[in-house]
Amino acid sequence: MSVAASPPPRSSVRDAVNDLRYRFSIKLFLSELLSKNWMEPIVPFLLMVALIGYFSATVPNYTSLDNTQQLLRLFAEIGLVSVAMGFVLISGGIDLSVGAIFAVTNLAALILFKSWEWPVWAVALGTLAVGAFIGLINGVLVGYLKARPFLTTLVTLIILRAGFDMVSEKYAPRFAVSDIESDVWDFLGGGTILGIPTNALALLVVLIIGHVYLSRSRYGWHIMAVGSSRKAARHAGIRVERVLLGTYVLSGLLCALAGLFYAARQNSAGSDTGQGWEMQALTAVVLGGISLAGGRGTVWRAAMGAVIVFLLINGFVRLGLEGYLTMAALGAILLVAVGFDVKWAKNRGKAIQKIYVNPTRLELKQAPSIARGSASPYAENDRLSQAEVIGLGQVEGPEDVILDRQDRLYTGTREGWILRFSGPNFEHREVFARMGGRPLGLAFDKDENLVCCNGGMGVYGVTPQGEIFKITDETNRTWGKLNDDSRLRLADDLDIAPDGKIYFSEATIRYEMHSWDMDGIEGRGNGRMICYDPATRTTRTIIKNQRFPNGVCVAHDGQSVLYVSTWLCRILRYWIAGPKKGQLETVVEQLPGYPDNLNRASDGGYWLALAGIRSPAYDLAMRKPDFRLRMVKEIPRDEWLYPGLNNGCVVKLDADCQPVETYWDPTGKLHPTITSMREHKGYLYIGGLENNRIGRIKLPGADPDWTGWESYWGNKQNSRVRPTSGSGISAVS
């Protein structure tokens, strides 16, 4: 066979620049940024900042303490009403009566204080009770009687307005002549705390409590759930009626709070009190980014929208615009905001998808020779073509294989099962555990529990009796990283150190098990090495930004952890004990193929599975990120260029991880995509990610009593061989 090797590496300045250019990707940052929920209201936020900036720059003394206090005092009430509207909108409803409730409660507060001469605390409670009662009526009608919120609250609005006009006509003259005085009342209306007006402070407190309530409490989550999908919420056991009732009562309460402050501030009830506030509040919350469809929003967005609307109205007034023009302008803004809301909600996911994949440049050095008959330790041969067959057609995708002390063979399959083969010829097959996810790397701990890395779930264990228990499914979150990367997405392979610590690899944090190929096409350091400490039950990331870390093996002497980087075709060693503790070094820099699992051998060396052999075309593509990007964008997935995973081999490494010999199936018909192998009592068992069989070959000259478990925990630990000094080719860190 003619072997066309990739060209010798060119190390020019241009390549170095390209390396840098593709390592940091603005698109990557953007895609992560866009997927954050707090990025949703970025447009209203910028608008708000721009408005404040504009008015500060153009209006004299705009930012003076006096004017700021004045503005805050004016703003607080509409702010509270907007938050009220926000809550109802998030629950999937609408409350058009907020302005009317505000007016009525304002009147009620004045009547209670000025006419009935109640003490201020009683006035406050009474006012809130009135607001809550009106909200209760709305809530019963909408929640329990299933009335449409729009019509219901419109009717409430009309009735309340009529009642307000009737009552205020009767009482208004009395307020003017009333001489009731109260310091507390005046403080509510005009006082400040630390320079902040009372009502603005109340709004701030409401915002903070409201935020915690909505985003951190069970009731808040229920509101979100009901707003997102009422049916799904009901199926999840949420009492939808009660939640809806609660939001309308909450809305009434917040409006009443606003009414109370307004009463204390103005001491009068004009007929236009709260007129049109429902439109202002609605414009505000939609502008702030609370979805009209429900289920999406925060109190901050309501407040932000309210600020924008308030500043605009304020600005229009200063510009000398007529009232009706102001309303028309607001209407136009509402229209634009609603349109944007719909488009944004629909297309954000697509925008993220469009820029999510970000290939980087990866240049591999020339691969060592695999030519048949050559002196290379990797030289191709046919030693796997005579492999015995275990479980042909009975197993789908045995990624990793392992044997226990009773010579039973375990493997994880693509169905999410752990299968067990037993009997002299492994003819008895049983489902040992139904785990779910995609079981990958396997290892036995000291107590003979089967510990399993599960793509999509984390690290799980199975007791000898077949009971599944969770070991860990998250690690510490990386500081300064936008995306929460604490969840384990693709735990790949693991091994257990003498002290019981579990070292495992997470192949990628940006893709899932079913899209591992995308990670290859991206070629970034998306993976990491993680350690679980059973003593403290903590999980910590120990090495970040690895390129698809895959097989993991604790060295025979227990002093270091060996692991491979699949896309870099490299074996690395991380010292966990001894003088080099904490250091990372590259042990084998260039493999001829893509390494997968790594396991101990009986002679003190190691076994390494090469899932595939590097093809020149793929190597070239890895140096061409733009080509790969075009590829994923322009052609279907089945047509993508893949790493050559149809053929691979098993490599025997010595104690220093240097290659000694290989076992090949060059046709790829029996053992394509070899992802694992395990030595047990003189035999080597071979698994493959996409195979329908497990293979077995006899290892002449291997210790016939050696088993993996004995090597880790039993009487074969003395086969530990210290690597000779200077085994590392180069120190990485």
């Binding site: 190929d517 260029l641 995509t673």
Partner: protein, 372 residues
């Protein structure tokens, strides 16, 4: 760059919606994938390196390696070497006067008389005929040749494709091979030609443009060609008139999205041609699966012991029969994972359909039960 070319393409689609996108057409109807070609059996296994075959009055003429062999007698058991050259013998055609026309790589056209005498045509209008891909003779004795490319020999067709050349010619010579003139230049690898049964039309294929054209042929020479099949799903090879009317049209490989992408991406293609051996390029091939260093595509991953037949084919076997209107009537195919790939010629001797598989380098014949 990627963004820019993407943008240009989008703009083109907006402003010229009717312009030919030349996207790979789907294979349905008479083109629906089947495995009928896999059932073909090897004919004359002693012949290797076969490039073309022609029907002889009493058997077959076969160009195998550097020789042209005449096989005749019962079971085609008797053999006679008609001619030997110092370069590979290629396309064949039988002249109405009984001479056999042979395209010889890098040389030109040889006309072999019944007495064994050779007459050569080595150039047309001062240009050598180094890449002859097909030859046909009209009933009146006029000879038509397709010269694939002026830049590469026929064995280097893959490089010609990857360079996106359109340097082929259609050449007409008189029966005595005294004069030859170029009637059409700038063709994208013309790859075989044939006269219709009545001799009044010349059909020819252009591999890199994936199309079949025809032109009226008469006393005044060849008329301007008319594109009959504008967009094939593969690369057409040598046409042969079918007994039941129409033509046999082999596609020696199918187009794949990945190859089309590589053809659009100039930077990648240039580096690929510079740094990788041609047999490992992302390009169509006569045969595949010979080396695991070949590029692998997603659908080609072996799963649960099976290579999916729908995997993107690096090589493929396809022979279709087209009617006089250029519509496909029927096809026999060998899909991904099969061996009977790289079909460049299909002929219909009395014993049934016989095809030339470049992947095998051998002749294949239809299984007995399907022979008429």
């Amino acid at each position: 760059m990627a963004f820019y070319s993407h943008f240009l393409r989008n703009m083109e689609q907006i402003f010229f919606p009717d312009r030919d996108q030349h996207a790979i057409p789907s294979m349905d109807g008479a083109l629906s994938p089947n495995g009928k070609l896999d059932a073909f059996t090897v004919l004359l296994p002693d012949l290797t390196d076969v490039d073309d075959v022609a029907v002889a009055p009493d058997g077959l003429y076969v160009s195998a390696g550097r020789q042209v062999v005449h096989r005749f007698g019962p079971g085609l058991g008797q053999s006679r070497t008609l001619a030997s050259f110092d370069a590979a013998a290629g396309a064949l055609a039988l002249h109405p006067d009984g001479r056999l026309l042979v395209c010889v790589a890098g040389k030109g056209l040889a006309a072999i008389g019944t007495d064994g005498g050779q007459r050569w045509l080595t150039e047309a209008e001062g240009q050598p005929l180094a890449c002859l891909t097909g030859v046909a003779a009209a009933p009146d004795g006029t000879i038509v040749l397709t010269d694939g490319s002026s830049r590469h020999r026929a064995a280097d067709w893959c490089r010609d494709l990857m360079e996106k050349n359109a340097a082929g010619r259609l050449i007409v010579a008189d029966a005595g091979l005294a004069t030859a003139r170029v009637v059409r230049g700038g063709l994208a690898y013309p790859h075989g030609c044939a006269f219709s049964a009545d001799g009044r039309q010349l059909w020819f294929t252009e591999s890199w443009m994936h199309r079949v054209s025809r032109c009226a042929s008469g006393a005044g020479g060849l008329a301007a060609p008319e594109v009959l099949i504008p967009n094939l799903p593969g690369y057409p090879a040598r046409l042969t008139p079918a007994a039941a009317g129409g033509f046999w049209l082999p596609l020696f490989a199918l187009r794949t999205h990945l190859v089309e992408l590589v053809l659009r991406d100039d930077d990648f293609r240039r580096d690929m041609m510079l740094s990788i051996a041609p047999e490992l390029w992302i390009a169509p091939q006569y045969a595949s699966g010979k080396s695991y260093l070949e590029p692998l595509q997603g659908g080609g991953m072996r799963k649960l012991g099976i290579l999916k037949p729908w995997a993107p084919p690096r090589s493929y076997g396809f022979v279709g029969r087209i009617g006089d209107d250029g519509r496909f009537l029927d096809s026999v195919q060998s899909r991904a994972g099969g061996d009977h790939h790289g079909i460049v010629r299909a002929i219909e001797p009395p014993q049934g359909l016989v095809v030339v598989s470049k992947a095998m380098g051998q002749l294949l014949q239809a299984p007995a039960e399907t022979r008429q």
